[in-house]
Amino acid sequence: MSTMTSPRPGHPADAATSTDLAIDIQDLHKRFGATRALDGLTLAVPTGQVHGLLGPNGAGKSTTIRVLLGLLKADSGRIRLLGGDPWAQAPELHRRLAYVPGDVSLWPNLTGGEAIDLLGRARGGLDRARRDELLDRFELDPRKKGRSYSKGNRQKVALVAALASDVELLVLDEPTSGLDPLMERVFTDYIRAERTSGRTVLLSSHILSEVETLCDHVSIIRAGRVVESGTLTQLRHLTRTQVTVDLAVPVPAQLTTLPGVHDAQVEGHRLTCQVDDTALSAVLARFAEIGIRSLVSTPPTLEELFLRHYEPEEAAS
């Protein structure tokens, strides 16, 4: 198993055959006039995985999802969705998935309940009891007209319609961007339940904590291509731990130049630095030799991961 599928084109060299993949995109290109929205994007989501598509605004998340749904035609690339061709077989494949767009627009004259039933039935039916339970959990009044819902409530309508359908794959484009923290919790609970029941979820987000709490596997997308992909553990492996240590003696100068130590700052006995996770044992061993009075280490967050990929000068190095 490869740990990282860094921007290397081609298929991840693992055992998974394409039939085990709910989503399999290779070298996808899509441009809008002069804008290169997708520039050689490669993405594989095995069945049963909760996969996060993480990237800043304009990275190409929504475009990827729209191509995947057969709404946009790819300029080039190979795309398989649930074993089929999303462009040619859209209606059949869509019976097996549910989609929540990033910006949900509802029919002004239909009530939320009507919109949920319409979308559910057009998808091939929805679970009445589950629908009612979801409405209850999301505290959504289904009798209001579409025009009177706030952004968050419109999103809830689409979420209820999606979660109440019995489908294999959920495609969610920034699903929590309008939800308040309480509702985000409800949403998180449902996605966790989906994961245990083996559904595949593709979730786009620019919110790191959301991906962190929900996803098994993350692909970081930037300027139309996936720049990093792996499990959270695998991605963390590449990050640095923030270490603050108080030593028994004033900090020796050679400590700051140890391999794997970055951004060292010295204040008498105290050293603050970042340590590559791969070099952590060696560095801590040196500290221990000198004598540690106190040590604080902060685990890496996806935030830092994100920074390394989006800060231009960092990315260049």
Partner: protein, 581 residues
Amino acid sequence: MTTTAREGHDGGGAHEARGPRTPRSLRTGPGIRSADGTHHTHRAPRAASTTTGATQHARLAARTSRWFWLVWILALASLMPATLSAYRTTVPEGPQGEAMAAALGVNTTMRAMLGPPYDLLDPGGFAMWRVGTFVAAAAAMMAALGVLRATRADEEVGRTELLRAGPIGRHAPLAGALLVAFGACALLGAIIAVSLAALAPPVGSALAAGLGIALTGAVWAAVGAVAAQLSESTRTCRGVALGSLAAAYLLRALADGVPDSSALSALQWVSPVEWAALARPYADERWWVLALPALLTAALVALAFRLESVRDHGSGLRAARPGPAHGSARLASAGGLVARLTRGSVIAWSVGLVTFSVVIGSLAGTIDTMLGDNPQLSAMFRRMGSGAPELEEAFVVAMLEIVAVLAAIFALSLLLRLRGEEEAGRTELMLSTATSRTRYALAHLVPALMLPTVLLLACGALVSLPSVLAGGDAGTIATCAGSALVLSPGVWVVVGFAMLVLGLRPRLLWLPWALVAWTLFVAWVGGLLRLPDALMKATPFAQLPHVPAEAFAWGPVLLLTALAALLLGAGLAGFRRRDIG
């Protein structure tokens, strides 16, 4: 810093900055500085009225809607001078003209459509009768729509909220919108008065006509202001305002249509759209009548302000009624959705076209007596009616073409929802279900083809109804229905063209609109203007046989049907192939 966080922060910062940086001109005025130099700003709100900021709002409303007002005012201002310039063609000098005017004046249908005739032998009096009440009603429509777009429409999408958060009075947006609408009505009235004074003196009469029209507009500006308070939905508010206008117009049609001796004719005083005519411009003016619209406007404006004080921002007078919690069984597919969404407009179009057809039908029976002695007008109608020798026949043929163009507009409005839904992002939602693109497009396309065709057939039959009821040959029902049906390939070509554009170049969707606008123009005034033949023939209906003036022929009917099918097929193929969104 991540990109995301940075953007989020900047967004917040910009938003915060907007509050304190309110333009100076929008503030309530300088705080009151007392002798000791302290700033008693807390007194400012009390000194400010609820309409503070109205003039700024008026400026904003005028600027954002300048094209709306400009187009309306110019279009309406041109009607009276245009009618005057054609006066001598319609009513010739001498006894022939007198007979003609007399015949027009007693024609019930004409009176019901246009208003009470007072002095048709005076050019100004004739113009006032022929288009005066119509212009007044249209000015009313302009004013009501203008007020609604600057009030409820902005409020519904949340634009007003941002402004209301600034230091402006509660009624400022409403007062500003009314100021603009009143100004527009005054401008329209002034242009009409000046142009009439030049073309049809005396000046006093011209002034009465202009003032009457302006004041009718003002009444519905105020009606629009009241309507804007009623519902949180702009559509509903617009329906209330325009519905009241339609009701007033129908009421006066009834009052003018009955004989003068009837008690019902007094109802004309109840309808505000009639007041401009009742002031009798060019026929011994009754100036005091113009006080009625002025008073009603004042009362309605007061009511609108009162209602705005008792409701919450963003909502109507009554809380929105909750709708059904579950979709009906029919709401299960794109077809069910389209049927549900177009229900209201299908009913409205059907009622409108059916009414139009019945009115035309009842006019057709009287056209010989009205125009038979007027060679110029008869010739014009024959030109419009594909050269039918019988005047009545020519009239029916000319009017059926207009019905067909209206049916094409109806068809276009049904089909173009497909684009509206796409732009709103709801097509994406529906196509993410098991709905195929073809099914989704057909859900819009099939009603756009079927409903106007059925309606056209029904209208054709209805045109002949009055003459059949009056004892005519029942066979004309079939003839007229057939004549109308023969025009339906023209409607299909319009739909096909729109589908082609929608499937291949949706940005160019103004093209099918331009086509129907041109067709309507040709059908309505082409005969009058003696346009070159090539231009007259550049419509989807020109090649079709205009039965009974022309003999029926399969050739053009099949050709246009095939063309429509081709366009539809190409458009559909384009829609299946292109990006959605």
